[in-house]
């Protein structure tokens, strides 16, 4: 198992926003986390990425796991798109950084924007930039919080293709939060459904979407 969660809990005052008894993530699989707003998807990803350190309980990555995280609100630094991608490269890879960067920019259709200031991009462009920046480096597990929420359909499909290619090449595990059931269906091996901070149901993508067992998931799927 690449990641094991045990008794993970987070609360604001009396309000519990995340409460997971136990869950194990298998290496190389793709997990989609679905659920309504405020169900705990982003909270879980932030805790796993260690950008939110105020939680109780345990989670453990397999030894020497390189974790990459793309937050819900993608950020473009005030420098060219090219430099935005290049800053993700460790110093030892500086000599190949530019070639690799141009490669990833082309894949994500960002090449025409390579000289543009990263802070002046549209929401969808910024998400492609953030994804490209993350994928330009090796990670064993990717935590993506609604990675294509602001992208148009065509860009999202391209981004998914690049992401899947990366996962295959690196043998990486994916955990991503999404509001798009179609995207979850296209990408994920396993779907995890959250409601009110609790893990309600999980299983193989087709099984969860076609044969939901919990009333909360049935209601969620009917409204989606």
């Amino acid at each position: 198992m690449i990641l094991t969660i045990e008794n993970l809990k987070k609360q604001y005052g009396d309000k519990v926003v995340l409460d997971i008894e136990k869950f194990e993530f298998e290496k190389g699989l793709k997990y989609a986390i679905i659920g309504a707003n405020g169900s705990g998807k982003s909270t879980l990803l932030k805790i796993l990425a260690k950008t939110d350190k105020q939680s109780n309980g345990n989670f453990e990555f397999e030894k020497d796991t390189a974790v990459g995280f793309m937050p819900q609100h993608s950020f473009g630094f005030s420098m060219s798109v090219l430099n935005n991608i290049m800053l993700a490269f460790p110093l030892k890879y500086k000599n190949i950084a530019k070639v690799k960067t141009l490669e990833i920019l082309e894949k994500l259709m960002l090449l025409p924007l390579k000289k543009k200031n990263g802070a002046h991009l549209s929401g969808g462009e910024t998400e492609r930039l953030a994804l490209g920046r993350l994928l330009s480096n090796h990670h064993d597990i990717l935590l993506l919080d609604e990675p294509t929420a602001s992208m148009d359909v065509q860009s999202a499909i391209v981004a998914e293709k690049v992401l899947l290619e990366y996962l295959e090449q690196n043998g990486a595990t994916l955990i991503f939060a999404t509001h798009s059931l179609k995207q979850a269906e296209r990408i994920a091996d396993i779907i995890i459904f959250f409601a009110n901070g609790k893990l309600i149901e999980y299983g193989k993508t087709k099984t969860v979407l076609n044969f939901p067992t919990s009333s909360q998931l049935i209601e969620f799927l009917q409204k989606a």
Partner: protein, 217 residues
């Protein structure tokens, strides 16, 4: 006087500029890293440090002047440095007065923008030092504005420099202490003329800073 100028006026203006540029730049070099580090770090007692920084932003210049005077006077612990009544000590006093303001303003601004930067940098596995430089880069326009404030504070300050500099002719006399002296001796026209020159210098520095901001955008 303003149009023709004279040797004494040029000397006073030069001393004023030397002091104001030096103290504001040093305050920036000390205050900005403190502000960024405090804003980007999480440690026990951070709230106390932030309250302390914000309290020090209101340091009364006269109090700073007296403390520096006592420390550097002949009988003070730093008396042997023989800095009393020198431009160097006036710069030291101003740095003590201005760097907490720079640190406080930087901390307040960086705290307001740091969350997505820290999340993104952490997600990419970028180290703390590089993250702080990235934050600094994202704050550069604001830092120019903070510098302008620091410079304005330095060039217009009179309480601390009067005490530690002594307003000595041909040595530590600056524009603000000259204005105060002229007011005390009833030479209001001269005092107002100096005040106008002071404003023109501030305007010039502001224009240069605005051009710099536009060029780096």
């Amino acid at each position: 006087m303003m149009i023709s100028g004279n040797a004494l006026l040029r000397e006073i203006v030069a001393t004023t500029l030397q002091m104001a540029f030096s103290s504001s730049l040093l305050a920036l070099l000390i205050g900005v890293p403190i502000g960024v580090l405090v804003a980007n770090s999480n440690f026990h007692g951070k709230k106390i440090i932030v309250v302390l920084m914000r309290t020090l932003m209101g340091l009364p210049p006269v109090v700073v002047g007296i403390v520096i005077f006592v420390l550097f006077s002949g009988t003070g612990p730093f008396g042997s440095l023989r800095l009393i009544y020198s431009v160097d000590l006036m710069i030291i006093a101003q740095v003590c007065l201005i760097f907490p303001i720079v640190a406080g303003m930087t901390e307040t601004f960086v705290s307001s923008i740091s969350s997505p930067i820290l999340e993104t940098a952490k997600g990419l596995g970028i180290g703390k030092l590089k993250t702080n430089f990235l934050t600094l880069n994202e704050s550069k326009y604001q830092i120019v504005a903070i510098y302008l404030f620091a410079f304005a504070r330095a060039i217009s300050e009179v309480g601390a420099v009067q005490i530690v500099g002594g307003n000595i002719l041909h040595k530590t006399r600056v524009m603000t202490t000259t204005i105060a002296l002229n007011y005390n001796t009833g030479q209001f026209t001269y005092a107002i003329a100096l005040g106008i020159i002071l404003l023109l210098i501030a305007l010039g520095v502001n224009l240069i800073a605005s051009l710099l901001q536009r060029r780096t955008k």
